[in-house]
Amino acid sequence: MTTTLPGRPTLSQNLSAALAEAQLRFTNISRYPGQLLTNIVIPIVFAAMPILLGRATGGASAEANFAANTGSGNFVGYLLIGSCVFQFVSSTFFLVANWLRFEQETGTLEAVYLTPTSSATLLGGVVLYSTVRSLLPALIAYVVGCLVFGLNPLDGNLALALVFIAAGLIPLAGMSMLFGAVVLRVKEANALLNLMQWVVSFLMGIFFPVAVMPPLLQFVAWLFPPTWMTNGVRSALLGVGYFFGAWYLDLAVLWVFMFLAPLLGWWVFRRTEQGIQRNEGVGQF
């Protein structure tokens, strides 16, 4: 007779639970169909503003001016990429916080904490959902945006751009946990989210090269993984130039973040979780 210790799940049970969490999120979002459309339209509109401003103010020498600062004269592609990557970065960055806040408010956070599925497994499912959920609209927005502004979406090294996105995703998920830990503790998301949205977009250089920032800010921006991701994608697609000169060096930096950020994120998240269990529990909202 074989006995399994209850509550010690096998790998496949964990995977199955993570998939169920991802599936739940998809089912849930499918009941709010307007959101997907918004996610596709917003980055295009967001990029259109500086693009039109550039056309209005830059005049005949706009592209040359832009090339002098960024290494590429294609400011339309540059801004569109910034806007689409930002869409992806911001939804990944806030995914843990949004998930926790949603579950806190509906009371389901306590319900899932009652089950033997660990929060690590649940987070896995949520990250899976969020990746697909934010990557897909960002890609569609990029393609549609290119067509709207008269660019060829297939120009540049698309595969390498995707590698940068994939490598950037993991440190992002780690940072997302850090931010999630804050929400778990303070039980508030909106005000923080609004503030962080601006900080993130500014640091990662959504509409401008990091090189034009003051030195101190530049230093902070370089410690921020999405900066490397945005620049990597722009270099792969437009050839703006890698920070360290070669794609593999920039990618190596992302790899370092890839190990550090999730470890730090998970450590802080667990500590916060335990602190809350010691006091009021996750049921408060």
Binding site: P6, G107, E110, T115, P116
Partner: protein, 334 residues
């Protein structure tokens, strides 16, 4: 042998911030459990009876690993609390926050299948178990509609079904009949009794005396985070056997009430006000000795007696005898 649930001197103190203006706040300790000890036997239907704020939910949250107790120890289904929390969660079914804790945009079936996955049932077993529960609780007609379209009672039923998804040997229910109408509550209690007869150990929390009295094998009366009395319902009543309880309804002034309190043998007088006054008088003397003196004192103080009757003791009387308050009183620590 160890019980299904053994609790030893469990304490829990919440720390809260007390606001004192815009920027100032001080830390305040709220003791919610002050040394609770219990032993619940396998197969028992065990009641936790106590007024609002007694600490029932806090105890349940500690036993289900949601909260870390401040002190004391506990064993649940043979696993020590904080040592094998996952095993405790896997072997316990819990209904905690009523209709909250469900995904309102999803259907009943989707909710049950999802929670089945979190309890590590394989995909076929999840669906089978969800079907069974939908059938058993008569949720068939609404099972494929979004939960947001349910009535409050239907949501409670689904929350109850969710607690059964992992078919655990221990079922913990925190006021499961809250917001249910009388027939639905009766129906739910019948299901609980069935499950108990099939061998499940049940912890049933309530602030309704009659519910504990009709349903539970043994009852712990909890107040201010302490177990005041524990035993079978007849045992608890027998502990009052030598006390007489008389209920008086009418127009009774405070002065008259004070006079009753001074009567020889009277150990407790609880008052409820709802239009007129109801006194519950507990006395060490027999009914025969108490009744004439009671009527005499009340009429001497111009009370109008509309109804007076000696009472068979109820669990509420046990509570009153121990605390001087009725179960309806709010005892939350302010």
């Amino acid at each position: 042998m160890l019980g299904q649930v053994t609790v030893e001197a469990l304490t829990k103190t919440y720390l809260t911030r007390q606001r004192q203006g815009l920027f100032k706040s001080t830390e305040k300790a709220v003791p919610a459990l002050r040394g609770v000890s219990l032993e619940i036997r396998p197969g028992e239907l065990f009641g936790l009876l106590g007024p609002n704020g007694a600490g029932k939910t806090t105890l349940i949250k500690c036993l289900t690993t949601l909260l870390l107790p401040t002190g004391g120890r506990a064993w649940i289904n043979g696993h020590e609390l904080t040592q094998a929390d996952n095993a405790i969660r896997a072997t316990t079914g819990c209904m905690l926050m009523g209709e909250r804790g469900l995904y309102w945009k999803l259907t009943a079936r989707e909710n049950l299948v999802f929670f089945g996955a979190l309890y590590h049932l394989d995909p076929a077993a999840r669906r089978r178990r969800a079907d069974e529960l939908i059938e058993q609780l008569g949720l068939g007609e609404i099972a494929d509609r979004a939960v947001e379209s349910y009535s409050s009672g239907q949501r409670m039923k689904l929350a109850f079904a969710k607690a059964l998804i992992n078919d655990a040997p221990l079922l913990i229910l925190d006021e499961p009949t809250n917001t249910l109408d009388v027939p639905s509550a009766r129906e739910l209690r019948a299901v609980v009794r069935d499950l108990n007869q099939q061998g499940k150990t049940v912890i049933y929390t309530t602030h309704i005396m009659a519910e504990a009295e009709t349903l539970c094998d043994r009852v712990a009366i909890v107040d201010h985070g302490e177990v005041l009395a524990l035993g079978t319902v007849p045992e608890l009543k027998a502990s009052l056997r030598r006390e007489a309880v008389v209920k008086v309804e009418g127009v009774i002034s405070t002065k008259a009430t004070h006079a009753v309190e001074q009567l020889p043998g009277v150990s407790n007088v609880a008052t409820t006000l709802n239009g007129h006054t109801t006194l519950t008088v507990v006395s060490q003397e027999t009914h025969a000795a108490l009744l004439p003196r009671l009527i005499e004192t009340l009429t001497a103080h111009q009370a109008v007696i509309q109804k007076i009757a000696p009472e068979e003791p109820t669990l509420e009387d046990v509570f009153i005898a121990r605390t001087g308050r009725t179960l309806a009183d709010d005892t939350r620590v302010k």
